[in-house]
Structures are given as structure tokens and as C-alpha cells.
Symmetry: C2
Subunit: 333 residues, 2 copies
């Protein structure tokens, strides 16, 4: 098998982590990088990653510049959660015939919130012969993909419940900020009004499960509440005073025709959360109760899912796909 | 989507169970059946299954007879564990352009023990435009597929350990017989010498994991020991006197170059086993510990995996494939 020439597109924390992981894989070659940030563009990828194996690879300010230097088979795309912000990037990659694995949460099921934009991206993918998929740990694995894979042993599934508990103290600062750790309850409330707070991709996970298992929903709803610290907590990055916000409790529900929760995705991410874990409960024939003990947490796992999906998009037929359309990702060496 | 016309090929306990499951699926149509057994061939499928929805479907004595009556998109193939016994059946199905999901344990990784036979079957599949895959709960899911899917969140995997504990008291009589329940230790020993005793497919699971995760093995070995009943046990089917065999403890190991177990699949199936479960441990970055609490046991799950894989083989490109080449199976409605 020839090496897959990978373009690292977007060098935020996850993009950098994924790029570093690529450097250790014999099946993959880190062949270029793109980032628009002025402090990164024009720099040396080896310096930014702190890894000499990437020395000499320039960070281009845009895709065209990167393409003038090297060809690519696939892009690790980690720029934004929101489809409208990445659509032109994906279309340009597709036109260049470059397959894409993206961390964009909305790309897990792009037509859910953006059907017209999705149709445009799908058209570009088909025309350019490119495969595009969005994935990650959540969304992309623990609260959706794993439940679908578990359903393989079932003769029937009537309801799905996933529980994810993450101790935010073990995560990086941006995630601690994303869950509001250290905010006062009033600050949390003000920020919640502004939207784009908490976990992104919950609606996509619920809808992907509903489609995959043909569970009929009349509505998808979501609740987001702060979890307050019952005692003071100190993480490597910040301090959470007693009574302030430790993180979030975010529940997504897919409701059936009688208003009952056919799908319930229950996510807790807060500093000091006990018994971190990922659980899948399928109510069906037979019932299935699956648990990742200790949970699938950490940026390492997110980077791994992205990198491990690269061979699957390179081998797949062109199109704007979901993780359910590809053979399951597995460890790449 | 048009309905998939299914041929039920082999009407043993698993084949019957899978056929009954097909009857409840709107995506699937039970369009015919084949069984060579004189007490079945020529009979009515509805009577054999005890289900009026299959009434009027004759059980043909061979594939040609079945094909004279109806065309088929895919076969649910449940005739034998061993590739040499089913190779001609698979080749005939492939020549007729019929995709195949088979419960044959050796078909999980057919070239492991039968490379030449596999090449012949693969050639017939390619020529006939048919997709052929072997799967099930074990092998096919809990001790191999699930571990591979779990590796998607890992940056590295150094070793794999799966533990499966089945309380044979909850299973059908053939499985209780297969694990030797009720035999004296001497009878167990005599039968073990004859081979074909205990769990079939252990070597295939170890080898599939090794290939999928690129774990280098110098040898695959297997141990099989009786588990003796510490007290008398009564199941709906038989009695296990104290001191007699309650079942088996069967361990498959893939050994690395220093003789260390890189892969260890630890299977206990005996009457009275406590804490039935399926566990996957990946030693890597990060470590992953996955558990199906209560275990994925029962013929219902085996039939479900087979039936739920039908849409994937129908959609896939032709060839003799493994479960890792297809999008993951999921509940079919």
C-alpha cells in the first residue's frame, strides 16, 4: 500500500494533535499544512508542532498555496464546528480531488441543519471524486456510532439511551472554558443566552441515531444546565470556587409521537465528575448495555478517530458521507 | 429501497431463527429456502418455522431447485462451520450472483486455514458479482469485531484481551452439548481427542484481530479445559451432576516474538457461570476497557447479526470479504 499524503488543514489544538499523530504512522505522510491565522501561516510546521519530523513543511495561508507545493490524497480538516463556516473550504478540497476527514460537529449529519449547503458540498464531492465525512469522539463515536454498532446484535430496538460522563478536570483549558468551569451562575446564564455554548453536535447525534435505526421522531429537543461545584476544585488550568459553575449537564432527546424520549443522550462534562464513562443502553430484543469504563475522553482519542478514519475515506467511493457509510475506522499504523 | 429477496439456506436451529427474523422485516422478503435434510426438503417453510407468514414457500432440496422457483438477492447461509464442507455451496451461490451472509465460523477469515479454497471462492464471487462474508456473535462480533471498532479511538494498541463469559444454562441444548455439559471428565477427555469440540472460530478471531490491528504474531495457540460443576445444576434441557463437566474454558492466544500473549481471547461457557459478560481490553494509548454487561449471548443475537448484515453485503462491491470490509451492520427494520 502506498502512503496516504495528508494535508493538515487547521492547526488549532485538535488539528495539531492529529497532525502530530500522523507523523508516527507509516501508512501516512504529513505532506502539507494550511492555517489562515497570521501567527501560523508562513511558519514551519515542525516548529508549530514541536516535532522535528515535520521540519521543513511550510504552513500555507490557503489551499491553493499548499497545492502549488505538493499533491494530497486526504485532508485532516479541523477549522470550525459550523458548516456555513467550512462549506467553501470543503468545496475547494473536493474540487481538488482531496478526500476529507473533518472534526466539524455539524458535518456528522450535514443535511440536518443545512440541506442546501449539503447538496452543494455533495455535488462538489461527486464532481471532484472526493469523499467527505465528519467524525470525532462526540459526535462521531460514543453517543451515536457505538450505539448503532451495538444494534447489530438486536432483532429490535425500541429506544436508545447514552450516558457520557467526562471529568473536565482532566481535559485541556478550551474544553474547561467550553463547559463554563469557574463562571458564576449569572455569567453562565448570560453566556448561554448567546448560544454556541456547551456541547455542539447533540442534535446531529440524535438525528443520526434516528435515521440509522429508523426510529421515528416528531421533535428533537435539548436542555443545558450548569452543574455547580459543591466544593472548590483546582485544575491544572483554572480554579472552580465552591458554588460556581463546574461544568454542564446537557441532554438531547428525540421524542416519539406520544412525547416519549425514544432517544436520550445524557452528557455531563464538569470538573470533578465521578465515574467518567460512556454507556449505551439499547432497549430492544435483546436489551444491550455497553459501557466504556473510564470513558473515551481526551483529545488523544479525538485525534485518533480522525486519523484512523483517513484510510476509510481514501478507499471509499466519492460523496458526502456519514460514518455509517464507511467500514469502521480502526487503528492505523 | 426495494426489498431484499432472501434465500434461507440451511434450516438448523440458527438458520430457522434467522429465517423467522426475516419474516418480521419490511426491508426483507423470505423468498425461498434450501435444506438437504430428507425430513425438511420438499416440506413447507411455514410449517417448519411454525410461522404462517412463510406458508406456501417450499423447502427445496438444492439451490437449482430453489432458483427455478424464484430469484434471490442474498442468502442467509447456515449449514456448517467448516469451509471445506460449504465451499461448493458458496461457489454455486456466487455463480448465481447471490450475495451471502454465512454463519460458518471458518468463513470469518477463510484464507487462514484454507488459502486455496478461499482463492477459488473469491474467484467465483468476483466472476458472479457476488459478495460473501462470514459473521455471527462469536466469531464475528464480541471477541474480534468489537475490539477492532474500539481501536478507532486509539493512537496505539500494543495488546488485546477479550473475555467472554456465557452461562450455558440460558442457551439451547446443542450449545450445552457443544460445551460438554453433563459429561464425566473422562467422557470430556475422550471427546476432546476427537477434535471439533468446544468453540469453533477461535483461531480465526485471533488472526482477524492481528491482521486488522497489524499486531505481529509468531504463533496462534489454543487451550481447552473442562470446567467442573462444584454443585449439581439443572437446566431446562439437562442435568449437570456435581463433579461432572459444566462446560469449557477455552483460551486462544496470539503470541509475539518473545512468546508474550499479544492477543488473548478468554472464553468461558458453562452451566452456572457467574456475571455473564463480554469485555474488550485494549492496552494502548489510551487504554480502552469496553464491556457488554450481561453479555451478548443467545441465538437471538446470532440470528440478528446475520440478518442485520444482509443490507451491507447487498450494497457492497463483489468479493470474498470480511466483516471489516463492510460498513458496520445495524438493526434492519
Amino acid at each position: 500500500l502506498s502512503r496516504i499524503r495528508v494535508l493538515s488543514y487547521g492547526l488549532g489544538p485538535i488539528g495539531q494533535r492529529a497532525a502530530r499523530l500522523v507523523l508516527g504512522k507509516r501508512r501516512l505522510e504529513l505532506a502539507g499544512a494550511v492555517d489562515v491565522a497570521p501567527e501560523l501561516a508562513g511558519g514551519d510546521l515542525g516548529e508549530v508542532l514541536g516535532d522535528a519530523r515535520a521540519a521543513g513543511v511550510p504552513i500555507a495561508p490557503d489551499l491553493d498555496s499548499a497545492l502549488r507545493r505538493a499533491p494530497f490524497d486526504a485532508a485532516l480538516h479541523c477549522t470550525s464546528s459550523f458548516l456555513p463556516e467550512i462549506a467553501e473550504q470543503l468545496i475547494a478540497l473536493a474540487r481538488a480531488g482531496i478526500d476529507v476527514v473533518s472534526s466539524s460537529e455539524e458535518l456528522l449529519l450535514p443535511d440536518l441543519q443545512h440541506p442546501q449547503l449539503s447538496a452543494r458540498i455533495a455535488g462538489a464531492a461527486a464532481a471532484g471524486g472526493a469523499t467527505i465525512v465528519g467524525t470525532g469522539v462526540n459526535p462521531g463515536y460514543v453517543m451515536d456510532f457505538a450505539a448503532v454498532v451495538a444494534s447489530a446484535v438486536c432483532a429490535d430496538v425500541r429506544a436508545v439511551r447514552c450516558v457520557r460522563v467526562v471529568d473536565a478536570a482532566t481535559r485541556r483549558l478550551p474544553l474547561q472554558r467550553k463547559v463554563g468551569a469557574g463562571l458564576s451562575p449569572a455569567e453562565f446564564e448570560a453566556r448561554r443566552q448567546g448560544g454556541r455554548f456547551g456541547h455542539i453536535g447533540m442534535r446531529e447525534s440524535v438525528a443520526l441515531l434516528a435515521r440509522a435505526l429508523e426510529l421515528e421522531l416528531v421533535a428533537i429537543e435539548q436542555t443545558l444546565e450548569p452543574v455547580l461545584a459543591t466544593e472548590a476544585r483546582v485544575t491544572p488550568h483554572l480554579t472552580v470556587p465552591q458554588g460556581s459553575v463546574a461544568g454542564i449537564h446537557n441532554v438531547g432527546r428525540g421524542l416519539g409521537s406520544r412525547g416519549e424520549p425514544v432517544i436520550e443522550l445524557d452528557l455531563s462534562m464538569y470538573v470533578g465528575a465521578r465515574e467518567p464513562r460512556d454507556e449505551v443502553h439499547l432497549q430492544g430484543s435483546p436489551d444491550v448495555h455497553l459501557c466504556f469504563l473510564g470513558g473515551v475522553a481526551g483529545d488523544e482519542a479525538t485525534a485518533a478517530v480522525l486519523v484512523n478514519t483517513l484510510p476509510q475515506v481514501v478507499a471509499a467511493a466519492p460523496g458526502l458521507l456519514t460514518v455509517l457509510d464507511l467500514p469502521p475506522p480502526r487503528l492505523v499504523r
